[in-house]
């Protein structure tokens, strides 16, 4: 199937969807918005530990839905239909975040003398567990038609199927994270360490290297999208 046909199909679906749901849902939207604002304010006033995660989560979910952003499609589309618009957007997001995380990291720690545990961000050990886990995750993501955040988003949109995906996701997490974890831990994870790029090559070289690699990937994705 060509990408134009996919686009045409998407437009038709969108039209059908609008016809099916032309009932005005503004009342529910206002009620939910009021509840969200009320709860956010209450969390803030009480200095709750959740005072930031709640409103930011709302905005993340809103943004994902509003733009039909989907990490699974970013990986799947180039492979199946050859469109790379989403992949380009994901790479762009990584570049913006890289810059933001970098600034935060260099102002938080003493770059000449630091411990890995002090660095803000998602820093985790790397090993064969990452490879096996990544392959399983990537396979599952394409088969289920959505990743973790995409599943949450689609439940919010009213998709019943994604409730099944979430149930299975929880089941799979428990299987490997509780029942099989001792096995995998002894086999692959124990002794693995975090590899933090600035520790290997320095802070600014790591930034420049990462932005260059992402820039090249962005250009390549763009070219691939145009070729198809």
């Amino acid at each position: 199937m060509t990408s134009e046909r996919i686009e045409a199909l998407k437009k038709r679906r969108e039209k059908e969807r609008n016809q099916m749901t032309n009932r005005n849902q503004n009342l529910y939207a206002w009620l939910l918005l009021a509840a969200v604002i009320l709860l956010s304010t209450a969390l803030l006033v009480n200095q709750s530990p959740y005072m930031w995660v709640f409103p930011i989560g709302i905005m993340l979910g809103f943004t994902l839905e509003r733009s039909r952003f989907c990490f699974a499609a970013a990986v799947r589309n180039p492979l199946i239909v050859g469109t790379t618009k989403l992949l380009q957007a994901v790479i762009l997001a990584l570049m913006v975040s890289t810059l933001g995380f970098f600034i935060l990291q260099i102002v938080t720690v003493d770059i000449n003398n630091f411990q890995i545990s002090e660095i803000p961000g998602s820093l985790r050990p790397v090993g064969w567990n990452t490879v096996i886990g990544g392959i399983l995750f990537g396979t599952g993501m394409v088969i289920a038609g959505g990743c973790a955040s995409g599943t949450l988003m689609r439940i919010g949109e009213g998709f019943t199927l994604q409730i099944v995906v979430l149930g299975a996701f929880v089941g799979g997490s428990v299987l490997s994270g509780v029942f099989h974890y001792p096995f995998w831990h002894d086999l692959l994870i124990e002794g693995r360490t975090v590899i933090y790029l600035p520790q290997l090559i320095g802070f600014f070289p790591a930034l420049i290297l990462q932005l260059s690699v992402l820039g090249i990937l962005f250009a390549a994705a763009r070219k691939l999208g145009k070729m198809r």
Partner: protein, 172 residues
């Protein structure tokens, strides 16, 4: 003004706008809470909450016992990842209600359910091994300059190829 309102609240946003907004939100999350966006550890905690309700509570040697992740006063049901996940769901609901597009979408055929269960299980299983999903081990990990983010990205791409093959063979 009306046009702006329509653009922001009614029309879909372009991908690049979403990319920048998502990045800024993730950076804000890291600055304000000390922890970037993550999703799947929350799913593990929900599973453990269910296990506890079912009377199972031997978590020796589990991911949770070895790597922890809950702050004081947090439970398997109520913790910052759970709240974040619930908020993402509600945010999507809010968006879909604003454009009057909410609708219960029923499952079309049993085959879909099979794919949903198989895919979900694989994602859940893989995410725990890799210390996260394509948010925690990718979208938040690469900007953190942790090598596991890049290794996860490549492996996820390889998995994507396998998944696409399976889909094209059995679904279409």
């Amino acid at each position: 003004m009306d046009k702006l309102y329509h653009k922001v609240l009614k029309a879909p946003w372009p991908y690049w706008v979403a990319a920048i907004v998502l990045s800024l939100l993730n950076i804000s999350l890291l600055i304000l809470t000390g922890s970037p966006w993550r999703v799947t550890s929350g799913f593990l905690y929900w599973g453990m909450w269910i296990l506890e309700k079912l009377g199972y509570n031997d978590f020796t040697g589990s991911y949770f016992a070895l790597h922890g992740g809950l702050a004081g006063g947090e439970t398997f049901l109520v913790n910052s990842v759970s709240i974040l996940n619930a908020a993402v769901l509600l945010g999507a609901l809010l968006s879909v209600l604003i454009s009057s597009e909410f609708k219960w979408r029923r499952i079309k055929n049993p085959k879909q359910v099979g794919f949903a269960i198989f895919g979900g299980l694989l994602m859940g299983y893989g995410a725990r091994l890799a210390f996260g999903c394509n948010i925690g081990a990718f979208f938040s990990a690469i900007p953190s300059f942790s090598l596991h983010g890049w290794v996860f990205a490549l492996s996820m791409g390889a998995g994507g190829v396998i998944g696409s093959r399976i889909m094209m063979r059995y679904m279409v």
